[in-house]
């Protein structure tokens, strides 16, 4: 930092005022300010702006107003949570339905070995079990014969 160039030093004045300047830079600025009336004037103007901003009190909402806002927030929260629950249930139902469909498809395409032991299927001894409801079992005699 060139300690004699006011145009380079001025942007640092706000940080100096706010205590945000690195210690080494602040020390160099101290030296410059001691010798430069122009920069001291600018620093005074910045400090005056801060004082005016600090003097302007910001109004505070009443407890009733805050309570009304909080009530509306909690009402919205309940709706958001309810919506999430509905979405979660719908997703769970869809997942169960999908798994069921996949399981049914898997049984149709890749019948488990035990399935042929059902009614109407061939037994290990080469005989045939009594005919059952082929549709509900999912595997027909013809289906087994094809294999």
């Amino acid at each position: 930092m060139n300690t004699n160039d006011c145009s380079l030093i001025e942007p640092l004045l706000a940080a100096y005022l706010d205590g945000e300047l690195a210690p080494a830079a602040a020390e160099r600025l101290d030296v410059h300010l001691a010798a430069c009336e122009g920069c001291r004037t600018v620093l005074g103007e910045l400090a005056e702006v801060d004082r005016l901003l600090g003097d302007d009190a910001i109004p505070v909402p009443t407890g009733q107003e805050w309570a009304a806002v909080e009530w509306r927030l909690l009402a919205r929260t309940r709706r958001v949570f309810a919506g999430r629950l509905v979405r979660t249930c719908a997703l769970a139902a869809a997942a169960v339905a999908l798994l069921g469909a996949l399981a049914w498809l898997a049984v149709r395409v890749f019948p488990p070995a035990g399935t042929v032991d059902g009614p109407g299927a061939y037994t290990a001894q080469g005989g045939k079990t009594p005919a059952g409801d082929e549709e509900t079992l999912g595997i027909s005699v013809e289906h087994v014969e094809r294999f």
Binding site: D18, A22, L52, L53, L74, V80
Partner: protein, 202 residues
């Protein structure tokens, strides 16, 4: 220029002390509780941060009722988007960013960014302002400040509001606005210099 300024700014923010750390941890705990399904956590977060959000909105709009409406909108948004809050980042930084954006959106929507502070109805008298002369003086100062702040650019006004109202460090303002600390330093200098000029013109 700003990288040059960056080198002159302290690297640690003002709000990195033990208190700030504990506040951040408590915020994080409440966010996790909300995400886990505890509705009341929203009320806790609201009570912890409503004043800060309101002050920012008020300083931007200069209007008490608008500021209250914006505060509500900010927390409504929070309910909807808290799931997107990145763990490990500061909740207050995220909330102030939402507050600034929401306030600027509000002002743009009403298309009165420049006119709002001047046309705003007078704020309710602050408690304890019993002296009429003092009260009139405060009212005049308020009007002058509103007019001057209304003439700043959005970027400069944001820096002044975050620093002046919430006493946020340069580092925090940089995180909220997405710029370097050097840029924050520069904006705060030029904004206050402009305010000094505007407030000096009677």
């Amino acid at each position: 220029m700003n990288s040059e300024l960056d080198r002159n700014v302290q690297t640690d923010g003002a709000a990195t002390g033990a208190d700030a750390f504990l506040r951040d941890r408590e915020d994080e705990r409440l966010v996790l509780q909300f995400l886990a399904g505890r509705r009341e956590a929203v009320g806790d977060l609201f009570r912890r941060h409503r004043d800060g959000v309101f002050r920012i909105a008020y300083r931007f709009t200069g209007n008490r009722d608008d500021a209250l409406e914006i505060t509500q909108d900010v927390f409504m948004k929070l309910i909807e988007h808290l799931g997107g809050f990145r763990q490990g980042s500061r909740f207050s930084t995220w909330l102030y960013r939402v507050s600034v954006n929401q306030t600027l959106d509000f002002l743009r929507r009403r298309a009165r960014l420049a006119a709002a502070p001047l046309s705003a109805p007078p704020a309710r008298a602050a408690a304890g302002a019993a002296d009429p002369a003092r009260s009139a003086e405060r009212a005049e100062l308020r009007e002058r400040l509103k007019a001057a702040l209304g003439k700043l650019s959005e970027k400069h006004r944001t820096a002044v509001v975050l620093h002046g109202v919430e006493q946020l460090s340069y580092k925090e303002i940089a995180e909220i606005t997405g710029v370097s600390t050097g840029t924050v330093m520069s904006r705060l200098f030029y904004a206050r210099k402009r305010l000094a000029e505007l407030l000096g013109d009677r």
